[in-house]
């Protein structure tokens, strides 16, 4: 008893920390244009006189080789990274959940067709597939987001389908049929709300990896293009200065680390809360 209690307090503590960090990130992302000290630096302004300055009160994270304020770039970059990740997950959910619902409820050849296609996409490593799609479409932020969504949805399809399979013969679904409800309405009103919990948890945990992947794609030159401030892109530019100017890659790297860790902690916490409500404890 004491041990489970301590476990929950510890879990809640970690979740709270994650939530706070995440809240700070979201807030700064929203307010970035107003709180960034040099917002013009993200729009292409350069200051050759200030290049590669170490962190100081004027430039808390130092400056890059073009004299741009890294603090402003990281702040404004959070909009691109968090926003891009979020949009990716939303698109992947839209595709994955729709296909999973149809496959699970329809069954038969439609189920076979959807799931075999899903297996094919799953057969490729997500990152590799995203790189391939992004490279084919041409490097841009929009294409990178599209590429990631197109390589991420199969996980949600599988998850939703397995939930639908166990729910579609549940008595309350049969009861809805007896109440004269159409299959489409049963799917949306009864099956989806009961199937969505594990997918929401999975999506919240995936947000971290998607942000990481977006940074990776930008690092490889397949994502955000200069002068768009994006964490991965800043690190790519800074890689030549790792040994000489430590601050250049450190701060955007820390931003990625903190954001991804916070998202993972929140995902874990969400898992606990939703599963407990499922069991009727909360």
């Amino acid at each position: 008893m004491g041990r489970t209690l301590r476990f929950y307090v510890r879990r809640n503590l970690m979740t709270s920390i994650g939530l706070c960090v995440l809240a700070v990130f979201v807030l700064t992302a929203i307010l970035a244009p107003w709180i960034a000290p040099y917002p013009g630096d993200a729009a292409g302004l350069v200051h050759p006189a200030h290049q590669l300055l170490p962190p100081s009160w004027q430039h808390p994270m130092g400056t890059d080789e073009l004299g741009r304020d890294l603090f402003s770039l990281v702040l404004l970059g959070s909009r691109v990274s968090l926003g891009g990740g979020f949009v990716t997950i939303v698109f992947a959910l839209l595709i994955g959940v729709t296909l999973g619902l149809i496959a699970g409820y329809a069954g038969g050849w439609l189920d076979e067709a959807i799931m075999r296609f899903t297996d094919i996409v799953l057969g490729f490593p997500s990152l590799l597939l995203a790189v391939a799609i992004a490279a084919t479409l041409g490097p841009s932020l929009d294409h990178a987001v599209l590429a990631m969504a197109l390589s991420w949805w199969p996980w949600y399809t599988r998850l939703i389908r397995s939930q639908v399979l166990s729910l579609r013969n549940a008595d309350f679904v049969q009861a809805a049929r007896l109440s004269g409800r159409s299959p489409a309405r049963i799917l949306v009103r009864h099956i989806l709300p009961n199937a969505v919990t594990p997918v929401v948890v999975q999506a919240s945990m995936d947000l971290g990896s998607v942000i990481l992947t977006l940074a990776g794609l930008s690092f490889l030159g397949l994502g955000a293009q200069p002068p768009t401030p994006e964490w991965g892109l800043i690190i790519a530019n800074g890689q030549n200065y790792v040994l000489t100017n430590w601050w250049y890659v450190t701060f955007p790297g820390l931003a990625i680390l903190l954001a991804v860790s916070a998202l993972n902690l929140v995902g874990d916490g969400l898992n606990d809360v939703l599963n407990r409500r499922e069991r009727g404890v909360l």
Partner: protein, 324 residues
């Protein structure tokens, strides 16, 4: 003469058994294997039998939730369609499930569960639907305050009351009750049974009551059919069948009922073996466990034998009746 409400003609439901890598059909479980029954409007028919005898499959087939493999279901004088039922027919046949927890959507408020059939079957304005749902819930003893809660906050008996209110909302002519009390405590069972008896008296709704509990059937039903291995072995008026059971299986079933008097010794005749998956084919379905079985029971399927308003399917009973 009352109207014929439900008639089953040689109804069969088979589940395929798939085997091997290619999932080829290797055989079939004959869950319901040639059942013929009728139920008049306003009547109450009980289906008795132990687990695995095809009771629930029969209930779901009659409710249109699964398609029969053979035979015919006639509802209100017409053949029930395969697959999706038109709304007009759907409204007239409702069902209450065995597990009250499982038959309510955990994410749907109690009142919305009752409002759902009203939305599908009637053209009332939303306000009227809400009032009607609350009135129906009040009739089965659920308060307006409880109506706004989620199912997991209610007890098993309360959930079953909600399920009954939902079935009544459609104003059906037939309610199929699939073990409506077996998941409940004994004290709550009695309340639900009284509620059902009251509904029958007041609204004249016909019941098809599925139960393994003969006392429940005796309490609610006028007629009973005893099922074994997917087939009817004996059917007739409850009073007649329970007073003088003729089929050896019905006798064993009645003998297994515990007597509430602790001073009377209770020595039930126990049957050997357990119910296997019914495979169909020729012969009496009960022959493997029957104390009276002989070679004939395995070679010849017993025919219907009418005795004093009951129907029995047994070679031994038939031989006794035959004038020597």
């Amino acid at each position: 003469m009352s109207e014929r409400l439900l008639a089953l003609h040689d109804l069969q439901v088979r589940y395929p058994i798939r085997k091997g890598l290619l999932r080829r059909v290797a055989g079939a479980v004959h869950a319901v294997d040639g059942v013929s029954l009728r139920l008049d409007s306003g009547g109450t028919l009980g289906i008795a039998g132990e687990s695995g005898c095809g009771k629930t499959t029969l209930a779901r087939a009659v409710a249109g939730l699964l398609s029969p493999s053979g035979g015919r279901i006639e509802l209100f004088g017409e053949k029930a369609p395969q697959g999706h039922w038109p709304l007009a027919l759907r409204r007239r046949v409702q069902m209450v499930f065995q597990d009250p927890g499982g038959s309510l959507d955990p994410r749907q408020k109690v009142i919305d569960a009752v409002r759902e059939p009203l939305e599908a079957f009637t053209r009332q304005p939303p306000q009227a639907r809400t009032e009607r749902a609350l009135a129906l819930l009040a009739e089965v003893g659920i308060t307006a305050q409880q109506a706004l809660r989620y199912p997991h906050t209610l007890s098993g008996g309360q959930k079953q009351r909600v399920a009954i209110a939902r079935a009544l909302a459609a104003e059906p002519d037939l309610i199929i009750l699939d073990e409506p009390t077996s998941a409940l405590d004994v004290s709550v069972q009695a309340q639900i049974l009284n509620l059902l008896a009251d509904i029958h008296d007041r609204l004249g709704t016909a019941f098809l009551l599925i139960s393994h509990d003969l006392d429940v059937i005796a309490h609610v039903c006028e007629r009973v059919a005893v099922l074994y291995g997917g087939r009817v072995v004996e059917a007739g008026p409850v009073a007649e069948v329970f007073r003088e059971p003729r089929h050896p299986y019905t006798r064993a079933l009645l003998a297994a009922l515990p007597d509430p008097d602790p001073d009377r010794p209770w020595r039930p005749e126990t049957l050997k073996g357990t119910v296997g998956a019914p495979e169909g084919g020729v012969g009496c379905p009960f022959r493997q466990r029957c104390p009276l079985a002989d070679a004939r029971c395995g070679q010849e399927t017993p025919k219907a034998l009418e005795i004093e308003g009951s129907v029995v399917f047994c070679h031994r009973v038939e031989e006794q009746q035959r004038p020597a």
